[in-house]
Amino acid sequence: MKGTYKVLVLLIAFTFLLSGCGSNAIDVNTNTDSKIFKDVLGREVEILEPPQRVISLTPAVTEILFELELGDKVMGVTEYCTFPEEALSKPKMGGFEDPNIELVVDAEPDIVFVAAGIQTELIERLEELGITVFCLDAASVDQVIKNISMVGDIMGVPEITKSLTDEMQEKVDYIVDKVKDQEKPVVFFEVWDEPLMSAGPGTFIDSIINLAGGSNLAGDADTQFPQLSMEILFERDPDVYIANDFHKKGDIMTRPGYETLKAIKTERVYTLNDDLVTLPGPRIVLGLEEVAKIIHPELF
């Protein structure tokens, strides 16, 4: 009796859990001349006409929207969207990991931009509530430029978009060209100090270091943000040490044990705003430029 009871309960659970997937279906108009856009997750999203009410749940897209002078169409941003200044006055839709769905729905957006990773779960939920969602994320400068083009296309502002992307591409090409045949100094980018964490392959930072003519100390790591032991740092003795401008250069140089590092001895310790090298938005080029300057001061 108890055995069958268990099975029965399991079956009930099974049935209901399965049926719970995807309950509210939304009718989608199929207009013959509507446009279908593909986002970074491969989703094909139908967007009938340039959206007038836009919500950005990712700081990178927020920056892109403002850069494309679409600020007045932005109905909501996250608490983390701090650039540019105009973004600070936009209504907040919650944090990055857990945006407030109620506020999003209340704002009645035509489109919501999200990032990949932690926000992918959001997509299904927002779609269930009848909202158009578009996912944009990037791990390379190239992809960023493509994303900016995509936003421009969707929002129906081709000219300003082209001028921006062209400008960005130019700058990138310039730098890449200049460092082409140069020696590549070993660069260590400190993402965090306790525990010591750097950026590995597949990250922006890694791609930028490479583009800027450097060799990423953590370039052969297994994960995107590896925790390194101090031993590796000392063993590989980088030429250049870059950290988040959260830390002061002076503090870094006086860290116990660091005095033996080449970079410290030659005072090639630098800090910069890590938004410039992590946000897949228009400022990435600024980041690239700064890193290039740091790595090859003689060239820039």
Partner: protein, 357 residues
């Protein structure tokens, strides 16, 4: 054999179920839920909310005019707030009921619904789902599903470790639960270190939250929780007697081992269902039954339903706090339950100690 010739009417009779209190609390729960539906960051008036709710009632609803209500507002009330509040109520009911059940079964007022491995198993299941990116493949139900399975596997393992022959002594159950929890926590931490990207997501899940829950979650959890809670409430007399020990229960005609196994199973399923949709919300399952016991006494026929209703009310209230306290950012509800639960419990304990001296 007649030891008594004829029954006389005793001058004092005992009430077993305080129906009055239960009805009152049930009404209070409904009231709290309805109030919570009207609260939220979006700008919707009370009148609009009432209209939206009434329009959903079959037949009567057709006569309600919704001109001044935007579609988005209807969506918010019916698709975002309502299911979330309902889920909070269900989870609160589930956790409080299972907490009371385990406290009675294990004869330990410090027991909670997670003690036999439910939370550590669910946490590990959720962690695995998150780090393997299962949601990308299976949708947002991947995590709850894995959490549910994890909770059940963990409980089953604890049960088998603790089993001595055909019986489950209380002390081995407690020890096995603690041991397995520690082990699973370790594995989880290890996975988190290897996948530091997802660490935040995992921690979030662990703290427990009702944000972004919808009708799908309610549909998934409601049947198990309701069945579990109702059946457990049918065993309140047995639980009462089992408080006096397995032998005494046996001598009063109760098959202690069978009842214990049944209640442990039901409790595990119910708690697993709750945890899978809301994460590991702490304190509710421990403090609510304990607090209620200090007020209404150890008789489970009163303790059980009252704990359930108080649990539901508490959960809805704290969730409402969690989602409105800081404007647009939500606090994970587990934090609020801990902050409210702890001090309130200390207060209850002091009051009880004072009256006993």
């Amino acid at each position: 054999m007649e030891l008594v010739d004829k029954p006389e009417n005793p001058s004092v009779q005992l009430k077993s179920r305080p129906i009055g209190k239960i009805v009152f609390l049930a009404i209070l729960l409904i009231f709290v839920c309805l109030t919570a539906v009207t609260i939220g960051p979006a700008d919707i008036t009370l009148g609009q909310t009432v209209k939206i709710l009434l329009s959903e009632i079959p037949v009567l609803g057709d006569s309600i005019v919704l001109d001044d209500v935007k579609v988005s507002q209807q969506t918010i009330v019916l698709q975002i707030r309502f299911p979330r509040i309902l889920l909070a109520a269900l989870v609160g009911i589930a956790l409080a009921t299972v907490g009371a059940t385990f406290q009675g079964l294990l004869k330990n007022p410090m027991a909670d619904p997670y003690i036999i491995g439910v939370s550590s198993g669910a946490a590990l299941g959720a962690t695995i789902a998150i780090v393997t990116g299962l949601s990308a493949v299976l949708g947002y139900f991947a995590v709850p599903w894995m959490a549910f399975i994890g909770a059940l596997i963990s409980t089953y393992t604890v049960y088998n470790i603790a089993r001595v022959g055909n019986s489950v002594p209380v002390y081995t159950l407690l020890l096995a639960g603690v041991a397995l929890s520690a082990f699973m926590s370790a594995i989880m931490s290890f996975l988190m270190v290897l996948n530091s990207n997802e660490m935040q997501q995992i921690m979030f899940w662990l703290l427990g939250s009702f944000s972004a829950r919808n009708w799908g979650h309610v549909q998934a959890a409601a049947p198990l929780i309701l069945i579990g809670v109702v059946i457990i409430n049918c065993f309140t007399r047995e639980l009462n007697v089992m408080l006096f020990g397995d032998h005494t229960a046996q001598h009063l005609g109760i098959d202690a081992e069978r009842t214990k196994k049944l209640l442990l199973t039901l409790g595990a399923f119910t708690a697993a269902a709750a945890v899978s949709v809301s994460g590991t919300i702490g304190f509710v399952g421990l403090i609510i039954p304990h607090g209620v016991r200090l007020v209404v006494g150890p008789d489970h026929r009163a303790l059980m339903p009252i704990s359930a209703l108080v649990g539901g009310i508490f959960m809805v209230a704290t969730d409402t706090f969690a989602r409105t306290l800081l404007g647009s950012v939500e606090i994970p509800v587990g934090i609020i339950t801990a902050m409210l639960g702890g001090p309130f419990f200390i207060y209850l304990l002091k009051r009880k100690k004072g009256s006993e001296i």
